[in-house]
């Protein structure tokens, strides 16, 4: 190998000091969140699926009265609220990874992620509002 080759190729990690400065740990926290929320969702979602689809008549028994009965209990309100937030954020981080993997142009990537974050914020807000303002006597 000639000296010229070595000069044209920067040494590995030569600029790591510069990149480290002012860096945040967003990716680490996102990675950790996926694992922690994943374990919690395993209980929340599989429990939800079991109760709604299999237990006591399954999906056939679900109607407005059934929802009203469940949300009369703070336990199920908290369960559903936690499941909503964790699942939405878990799914958003997951889809963010997929978008980052497959988009080639910066514009496409930024646009898709803005659409994703907006949709997520709207759905979380709507779901939270529904759980907190639910009225069993609505007509």
């Amino acid at each position: 190998m000639s000296t010229t080759d070595e000069l044209t190729i920067p040494a590995p990690r030569s600029s790591s000091r510069r990149r480290l400065r002012g860096r945040t740990n967003t990716e680490l926290y996102a990675w950790l969140f996926m694992r922690v929320s994943g374990v919690l969702l395993l209980v929340l979602v599989l429990g939800h699926l079991f109760i709604m689809n299999i237990l006591d008549g399954g999906v056939q028994r679900i109607n407005f009265g059934f929802v009203a009965g469940r949300w009369a209990s703070p336990f199920w309100q908290v369960w559903d609220l936690l499941m909503l937030w964790l699942a939405m954020i878990h799914g958003t981080i997951g889809l963010r990874t997929v978008i980052n993997d497959y988009t080639r142009r910066d514009g496409t990537r930024v646009t898709l992620k803005m659409v994703l974050y907006t949709a997520t914020a709207l759905v979380i807000a709507l779901g939270t509002l529904v759980i907190f303002t639910f009225d069993p006597n609505i007509t």
Binding site: G38, I54, Q60, I62, F64, V67, L126, F134, I138
Partner: protein
Amino acid sequence: MSTATSARATGSAPRSKLAGTLYRGHEGMWSWVAHRITGILTFFFLFAHVLDTALVRVSPNSYDTVIDTYKNPFVNLLEIGLVGAVLFHGLNGLRIIAVDFWSRGPKLQRAMLWIIVAVWVVVMIPGAFFMFKHSFEVMFGSGS
């Protein structure tokens, strides 16, 4: 690191004709593909599901009308597919956590995949049976 060394490190023997690839075309890649697809499907369903549940805030009637869709035998089959997707995603997620945090995880990743596939089958057989029981009765007689 040579291929032979990395093959031993991940507890696998190079079997493929794609020389030098331990990952491509093997269990590691396919479980990753399945994890992505099941995750994306579940996430898109979640959007629809929050919206249909939000109808409880509109009127009992509109909620009941839309929820009746879920009771249709064909949609019931789709629900079984959804439960299968979620169950695989959750079990494989546990496997990913084991690979990340457990010192023996990377070595046992392939064995763990077949364990979760076995658990999936064992749970899905009675799960699908009880989920579809009512639809079956409606379609073939005794149900209402």
